[in-house]
Every structure is written in structure tokens, then in C-alpha cells.
């Protein structure tokens, strides 16, 4: 049966083909082209499914047709939002929901999570490397088992509690399944259905959630602009002028105070967590900081908004006199 491969980075079809096809027969190459009609145009973007034909058997089986149908569906999903592919590749199902001031306080939740996922990826790659060394005979069995155990231990720490989100490794079964094969990007048939569904849902939501900080900020800029516009209707020149100062002050105050207080609360909550022995170390401590920073960002945004409003008022009066 042909295998499915999820492309990890933008690449051209030819180099991807030469990388994935182990044999170099013309027949195999033609079959690859026939199975991957959905990839014909231009570059292959991250998240696209590539179907790799068997070394033997030329005829297309029902399984191949099934894979092709799913590959088409994934392509359609990615067409809605190309960035969704990258999101899935980064195993990014913990799309952030803290918008606006909260995420400003943290400095963007997505950013922090992307780093965590990157670490998990590095460990998985190390497992894969050790396995390859063992397969090539460069590592004896005992050393391989020892090294793999150490890496699994590290993975366990990295995947404790909420840290599992976004990694697609929420159950030990799938973790073992993924690690049991030589290249983690190859998928078994049962996993492909889930992958297709995830691509579709993420394509719909990542557009809004992927850039939470900016969405929150844009909403605020929009709100400030709207208030100014409302005040600037005919016959209300005084109010219009005042609104420009007050609303701009509110926006600037809210954003800067969210960043400032967010940093403060990150430290305070981390200190509290250490004192109360809530967080152990590493990601636990970071989690404490993130929760604190989000709360601080929210509080700072509200307070800073009011302060900025007052400051804008003072500026307006000073300019008017």
C-alpha cells in the first residue's frame, strides 16, 4: 500500500519527489505523478499530503484512491488558509484564545507555545537520530536503549499536563506509534482521517486566533477610531478634538501598561508559585508566569487605558488654553 507523507516545509515538487522516492525507476516516478495530481502546480506548501507509491505493483488500489481523496481534501483546506499548514506542522492545536491586553502582557501566548513545541520536536528528532544510528550499526543495542530511555524521560517532562497540547502526542499509544516508525512524518491510515479534519478546522480558526495579539490590538485601534469618528460628526468640533486626545491616550496607555504590568505580574506570580511550591521547574514555572502575565496584561490594559484617557484630557486642555 502506498504511504502518506506530510510535507514539513515549502519545497518544489521535483526535489521532494527525489527525496521521497527510494527507487529510481521510471514506472515508480510516473505512478508518483499520477497519485499526486493535487500537487501539480508550483511549490508544495507545508501541510500538504504527498502520496508515495509502493516499490511494487503499478495498478492503483482502492487504498490509493482513498489516500488521493484525502490529499485533495487537505489541499482544499489549505487553500482556504495557507498558514494553516504551517500551524499543523508545528503541531499547533493550542491556538491561543487570550486576545488583546492579556496576550500583550505575555508577549504573545503563541510565541511561548511555539518555543515549547520546538523543544518537543528537537527531542523527537534526537530519538529519531539515535534510532538511525542504531539501525546503521553505529550504536550497540544497550547504548541505544539507554539513550532512548533518557530521551523518553525528557519527553515525559516536556509533555506533562497541559504541555501535551499542541504536540499531537496526547496519548502514550500515539506517542509510541509515532516513535516506532523511522520517519515521524509517515502516517498510518487511521491517523489520516484525524489529520484531514484538523487541517479543515484549523484552516477556519487559525486565521483569527493565530495572531491573537494583533487581533486584540486591532480591535482596540478600531474602537478608538470609532469613538473619534462618532464625536467628529458635524457641529461637535469641541468634542471631536477632545476625543482625538482622549481616545488616543486610552489606546496608548492601555497597550503600554499591559506590556509593563504583564512583565511585573509574570515575576510576581512566578515568585508566588515558588513560595507555595506550586510550580516545580521548567514549564511549570513558565506556566505560572504566563497566567500571571495574562492577568497583569488585562489589568494593566484596563488601568492604563483609564490613565491614558486622563492624560489625553490634560493634553487637550493644555493645547486648548
Amino acid at each position: 500500500m502506498a504511504q502518506a507523507y506530510i510535507n514539513e516545509r515549502t519545497t518544489d515538487l521535483l526535489s521532494l519527489k527525489s527525496r521521497l522516492l527510494t527507487g529510481s525507476s521510471r514506472q515508480l516516478s510516473e505512478q508518483f505523478d499520477a497519485l499526486n495530481l493535487h500537487l501539480r502546480h508550483g511549490l508544495v506548501t507545508p501541510g500538504q499530503m504527498v502520496i508515495i507509491p509502493d516499490d511494487y505493483g503499478v495498478a492503483c488500489t482502492a487504498d490509493d484512491a482513498w489516500l488521493m481523496r484525502h490529499a485533495q481534501e487537505i489541499r482544499r483546506g489549505l487553500e482556504q488558509d495557507a498558514s494553516a499548514g504551517t500551524a499543523v506542522i508545528n503541531n499547533y492545536d493550542l491556538l491561543q484564545s487570550w486576545l488583546g491586553y492579556g496576550s500583550l502582557g505575555v508577549g504573545s501566548t503563541t510565541s511561548a507555545w511555539a518555543r515549547h513545541l520546538d523543544e518537543v520536536r528537537q527531542t523527537l528528532e534526537e530519538v529519531e537520530r539515535v534510532y538511525q544510528q542504531f539501525k546503521n550499526g553505529n550504536l550497540d543495542r544497550n547504548t541505544f536503549i539507554q539513550q532512548r530511555q533518557a530521551l523518553f524521560k525528557r519527553l515525559d517532562v516536556q509533555l506533562q499536563g497541559a504541555a501535551r497540547f499542541g504536540t499531537s502526542l496526547r496519548t502514550h499509544t500515539s506517542l509510541k506509534k509515532i516513535l516506532g516508525i523511522s520517519t515521524k512524518s509517515y502516517l498510518h491510515k487511521s491517523e489520516i482521517v484525524g489529520y484531514t479534519q484538523r487541517i479543515r478546522s484549523i484552516a477556519q480558526t487559525s486565521r483569527f486566533l493565530g495572531k491573537g495579539t494583533y487581533v486584540g490590538l486591532a480591535l482596540d485601534v478600531g474602537a478608538a477610531g470609532l469613538a473619534i469618528k462618532q464625536a467628529c460628526m458635524e457641529g461637535r468640533e469641541g468634542q471631536c478634538e477632545r476625543a482625538k486626545y482622549v481616545e488616543t491616550g486610552r489606546l496608548v496607555g492601555g497597550v503600554t501598561a499591559a506590556a509593563m504590568v504583564g512583565a511585573g505580574t509574570a515575576n510576581t506570580t512566578q515568585r508566588l508559585c515558588i513560595a507555595l511550591r506550586i510550580a516545580t521547574r521548567g514549564l511549570g514555572k513558565l506556566g505560572c508566569g504566563i497566567i500571571g502575565a495574562a492577568a497583569g496584561g488585562l489589568g494593566g490594559g484596563i488601568a492604563g487605558g483609564a490613565v491614558g484617557e486622563g492624560f489625553g484630557d490634560v493634553l487637550y486642555e493644555a493645547v486648548e488654553q
Binding site: 505575555v106 508577549g107 504573545s108 510565541s111 511561548a112 518555543r115 515549547h116 523543544e119 496607555g253 503600554t256 501598561a257 506590556a259 509593563m260 504590568v261 512583565a263 511585573g264 505580574t265 509574570a266 515575576n267 510576581t268 512566578q270 515568585r271 515558588i274 513560595a275 521547574r281 521548567g282 514555572k285 513558565l286 508566569g289 497583569g296 489589568g299 494593566g300 484596563i302 488601568a303 492604563g304 483609564a306 490613565v307 491614558g308 484617557e309 486622563g310 492624560f311 484630557d313 490634560v314 486642555e317 493644555a318 488654553q321
Partner: protein, 123 residues
């Protein structure tokens, strides 16, 4: 020009925000590398540094936060074996003060902000 209480508080807080942001910037971009040099053999800190290695603003922010914890929660962290007394003893006190005082200054801001919110929005 007659100032209301709210306007006077606003001027005060605007200066406060500007000063706080400057201190944060100074720690992130002028003092962070200097203090991290004293922890070259600290496994936890090096791990955190690798985690936040993209060198963006958020990376520096969390690295400052991490090193600050070593200084303000030193007793607990020494007990846990995350940092040693010797490592902390080598840091000049002037450098330590920047991070420690920033922590207390930040905590004061946090208390102030939340007190203000409760006072004006809840009570």
C-alpha cells in the same frame, strides 16, 4: 489650569509607565547578557536560555524573569538545587540590585494597578 484628581493621577502614572518601561528595556538589552555570564555552568538557566533563544523581545523578557527568580527566591532555589550559593556570590551587588529592585518595583506596580481597579471599578 485646574487639575482634577484623576488628571493628576494620570500624569503621575504616565511618568511611572515611562520609567518602568525604560527600566525593563535597560535590563533586557543592557544587563541581561552581563548577568547571564555568571551562570554559564548553570544547567537550568542554560536550558531556559536555549528555550528562549530566538532573541526577540519576548525571549529577553522571559530570560530576565528567569534570572530574577534566582535572585529574589534564592533560598528556595538553592534548596532545590537549581542554583548554588557560590554562583550567586560571584555576582556584583550593583548588578543584582538592578534585577531585585526591578522585581519589587514591578510588584508595587501590580499591587497599585489591581488596588486601583478594585477601588474604581468594584467599590
Amino acid at each position: 489650569m485646574n487639575f482634577t484628581l484623576k488628571q493628576a493621577a494620570s500624569i503621575f502614572f504616565a511618568i511611572d509607565i515611562a520609567v518602568s518601561l525604560w527600566i525593563l528595556w535597560y535590563l533586557k538589552y543592557r544587563k541581561l547578557e552581563e548577568i547571564e555570564r555568571y551562570f554559564t555552568k548553570n544547567i537550568e538557566l542554560q536550558r531556559n536560555k536555549r528555550f528562549w533563544s530566538w532573541n526577540k523581545d519576548i525571549d529577553r523578557k522571559w530570560r530576565v524573569s528567569f534570572v530574577t527568580m534566582y535572585l529574589v527566591a534564592s533560598k528556595e532555589l538553592i534548596r532545590r538545587g537549581e542554583v548554588t550559593e557560590d554562583e550567586l556570590a560571584t555576582i556584583p551587588s550593583a548588578l543584582k540590585r538592578w534585577f531585585v529592585w526591578n522585581f519589587y518595583w514591578g510588584t508595587l506596580q501590580v499591587i497599585g494597578v489591581f488596588t486601583w481597579i478594585v477601588w474604581t471599578k468594584v467599590l
